[in-house]
């Protein structure tokens, strides 16, 4: 395949513009991607983009970067995927580096130290907030509640590495659903609300 540098640079630049908007969560990117990729450039159809977002969630990594990579691949294959990914990554990388450098320079400054004393509890609040948000879709039956409590206890009281805990989640999820099928129990894979959303989405298409 001949390399279409013009197309690749367009992909890179499009995602370069969208990248900085992904402030605190990739979902803020959805309308912008739609405008740039569907309406302005006409690279993809609206349906393709919603497909991409659904898929991006099921792959490890940040939703914003994953979506960009999927879209880049649809437009121009592997090279397109790499360009879209780098385009999304680049601006935020620069900002992070800028802020980090600033903090390194100001290290030891009295005001900065006091500011961080205030920021640290806020970071804990931010993590609690993220936990509250995800618990709404994660915990919806006795099994998921039990799993959350069991795994939290393991994390708190055993030295098991968090990566092992995540991998065990994949195995437990598949195992529990298989077991429930064998026992003939009613299976609900997602919280009621999101199931409904999927059903109406399928109904529309």
């Amino acid at each position: 395949m001949k390399t279409d540098w013009k197309l690749l640079s367009k992909i890179f630049l499009s995602f370069l513009k969208i990248g900085p908007v992904t402030f605190g969560g990739g979902y803020a990117m959805i309308p912008l991607i739609e405008r740039e990729v569907v309406i302005k450039r006409k690279w993809l159809k609206m349906d393709d983009v919603s497909d991409v977002f659904a898929m991006a969630e099921s792959v490890p990594g940040a939703i914003a970067i994953n979506s960009a990579t999927f879209i880049g691949h649809r437009i121009a294959g592997t090279k397109g995927a790499v360009c879209a990914m780098l385009g999304t990554l680049f601006p935020t990388f620069l900002v992070v580096m800028g802020i980090s450098t600033l903090f390194f320079i100001l290290q030891g400054n009295h005001y900065l130290e006091s500011a961080f004393l205030g920021i640290r509890p806020a970071i804990v609040a931010l993590i609690v907030y993220a936990g509250v948000k995800i618990s709404k879709t994660a915990i919806f039956d006795k099994t998921t509640l039990g799993l959350t409590i069991a795994m939290l206890s393991i994390l708190l009281f055993t030295p098991l590495h968090p990566i092992l805990i995540i991998l065990s989640g994949i195995i437990l999820g598949i195992g529990i659903i298989k077991l429930k099928e064998k026992l003939g129990l009613v299976i609900q894979l997602e919280s009621g609300h999101s199931n409904e959303a999927i059903m109406t989405k399928e109904g529309e298409s």
Binding site: V59, A81, T92, E113, R120, L126, I165, L167, G169
Partner: protein, 178 residues
Amino acid sequence: MLLQLFFVFVMIGAVSFGGGYAMIPVIEAEVTGRGWMTTTEFTDVIAVAGMSPGPIATNSATVVGYHVAGVPGAIVSALAMTLPSLVIILIIASIFVKINQNKLIKSAFYGLRPIVTSLIIYAAIKFAISNGIIGLDFSFEMLKYGGIFLLSLVALLYWKLHPALVIVLSGIIGIIVF
């Protein structure tokens, strides 16, 4: 050192399910375990990562990389963190599966989501302890930390303030009260 950073973040990138916050305890375990940083220093990394646009886990990796090995460290960490996603996406895209509708994947996420929740709660407890917000000896400082914590939580949950704004505002409060 760069090789170590690459290896650590490729590993973390491959298991980054369920939004960046679940990766906080994973990155924390790695960086404190290797003696690169203390948990309190890592809290400041999250602060910088949360103030910047972009995904919090990738941003944290960048800051850790920068702290450990300068600009090359930052570049290696950011790329290592996104490499597994890139590879997985290329594989999925080339075999044309709609993975989000696959039952096996859905079952995996049935188990993953609660675990992501416990990881985040665990991170919150661990950070609260290491930053002196909860502890055995009561102090006046703890009261101030607790106050900022509650105020931030209310701001996020009920006033729906943007996380980056909450970080900046808490910094200003910190300058005033400490």
